[in-house]
Symmetry: C2
Subunit: 433 residues, 2 copies
Amino acid sequence: MLRPGRLKGPVYASMSRLVMKFGGTSVGDVDRIARVARIVASEARRGRGLAVVVSAMAGETDRLVGLARGAGGQGGNEALSGAGFDDEYDVVVSAGEQVTTGLLALALRRLGLKARSWQNWQIPFRTDAAHARARVADFDTTELGGSIDEGVIAVAPGFQGITVGNRITTLGRGGSDTSAVALAAALKAERCDIYTDVDGVYTTDPRIVSRARRLDKISYEEMLEMASLGAKVLQTRSVELAFAQRVPVRVLSSFVEPGAPNPGTLVCAEDQIVEKHIVSGIAYSRDEAKITLLGVANSISAEANIFGRLADAGVNVDMIVQTEARHEGRRNIVFTCPDRDAPLAAETIESQREKVGVDEIHVRRDVAKVSVIGIGMRSQVGVARTMFEALAQKGINIEAIATSEIKISVLIDAAYTELAVRALHTAYGLDAA
Amino acid sequence: MLRPGRLKGPVYASMSRLVMKFGGTSVGDVDRIARVARIVASEARRGRGLAVVVSAMAGETDRLVGLARGAGGQGGNEALSGAGFDDEYDVVVSAGEQVTTGLLALALRRLGLKARSWQNWQIPFRTDAAHARARVADFDTTELGGSIDEGVIAVAPGFQGITVGNRITTLGRGGSDTSAVALAAALKAERCDIYTDVDGVYTTDPRIVSRARRLDKISYEEMLEMASLGAKVLQTRSVELAFAQRVPVRVLSSFVEPGAPNPGTLVCAEDQIVEKHIVSGIAYSRDEAKITLLGVANSISAEANIFGRLADAGVNVDMIVQTEARHEGRRNIVFTCPDRDAPLAAETIESQREKVGVDEIHVRRDVAKVSVIGIGMRSQVGVARTMFEALAQKGINIEAIATSEIKISVLIDAAYTELAVRALHTAYGLDAA
């Protein structure tokens, strides 16, 4: 039988592809899904092949987690003969995304577009077998890519995958961003657009600084520093993956009228940013505690002992600063951890005090970490001085300093957080006109 | 590396297997799922390999259907270039069962049992591609069966499957019973136990006849007649499949204390029923309408014309009885249909009246069909007489009679339904002692 569809012959060159990702709030109900469909339709008119990654409807994954806990207990520790509960947790909590893939495919068809859902086992989207915190593995998108090139919009679930043994996994909270970037890398997409409830990455938190500006571009490295410092626009892991795979990621708003200007912020390689800012942004993190160890014995294993024990105790240590102490042959060590971990950290070191040799332990709670971040710092002198002068002018005392190649962080009294962020935003010329 | 698990060697003979099925009410919340887990655990102690088929939690599929309609419209008719919406409807509405498979697997592990969920694509459980009303196709259960034989309880979703093209399908409402029977057939299980909210199949509706008795056994043919007449214990399609595949099906209560006596009713082949009842049960169906066509012209195509048009109009015709009319060369035809279809049926025939040649059309609404069913009827005379006598004694007028090999149905005034059912239940000696 003659099949007219075949007469066109195979598609030799794959068309340009784009991955779009919408989170749980953007697909929170049927009306919002219809809105997402209009955004996708508007993008489809530009002629690129599209894959859309969706989260579960807002609240759905929480509901499923609640059910799984009710049925299986907290899991993990209640393991059964070596096999945990996590594989079946993943089965339960991953069901929400299937619903949204189908709903969005329906909404797109209703607009007259060709669309279909792709579950992970249909692609197949592979991960390792670390249930509840799986990492994306290599996978083949030949069939998916072929369908996209034929003009069928692919709708895929975020947050999850399957192992080579065909069991269901999840990537952990926020994993949908990572799914989208991984799919973009596998499909060799020219970009991955992450639609969120903000319209881009800002120079700092607009709730604190009303003159904060949306950045047109930011480098992967800067974005990683911003993300790890609490600017929760993108999940850190997704930025790492985008960095490693060189996938340009655009963060933009899902609440702008479909088709209206919505430039967002492009997260890309440093060499794609022509006009480099010395400082791209000011990040902050509250609820930190500063722990000061005075007069630590000069032993070669002191640091290993201290931080090894803290890690065993589950204390999430962030900054570590070490200086020489007044007493000869002794040192002072300052480190920070989340405020809630402070009592545990103090206890842990107290129990090792004799062994390691520590004169005094001081815990200071309610401190904040404020950081200036910018790839331009690498080639620029005087960046730190600007920071210290701006803080001094406001009478803000610096309790500790740590620097990396593209970041300077200071610890200050948490009460001064907003004041410090505003002063630094102005000092580095970031205020909007 | 030596793998101790391997030293046992392969399992050469597969163990005896049992399929258990629990509906939406039985898995309606986490507490009920825990209860189902205890029932399964109690069965596991008997040493058979177990597969458990579960529905979505009560209400969940309705919720998903609502979402799908909201996103895609009513589907089907709003088709897009030949391809309907049904494939994506199936993606959405089939998500509920994945949740319950995971939850039950967790609950079973919590009781210390080995268990895992199997999604349809993991088995793979195949169907044809008739979305929303798919029929089960052949499928291979080698891997599933192997896991069961190793003592791992398999938990699988009802109501759905996948096509050879790896798209998700659903079997239509009530399809979970069919899934369970199909799995039992494929696994060569010795039986399929369907847990429901009743404790078996009764001689008649216990709400009408307080002395109705639970049947220990009933043949497939009788069960089909009972099911099609409105005794909604098992979905008709599942009984047909069990009949065709010779799978013994037991209907029993999911509300009996786990481990307590719960014999239920075995639906099985006629030759497995030693003591055959002449009549096994009395079924009834209200909300019927009787349509009488008097003086239908003696044309060879009259019936084909009439019932063809009714079928085109979507009228679900049930009984058809034909007699000779008073006028020579003309006949009378009586048929029944659901009461709600009566106006449409009358209209349809009215529009064909001239063409076909019908003298009079009478519509009688509010009639009921009462049937006595029993495989013993085949070899027994006088069964019909007992029926007519019992009804006559109560002064109940018979409006039409239809018989099959194992069933006698009469149409009566709906107001007499209970009276008729009670009288027949007594007349055939079915009353409990």
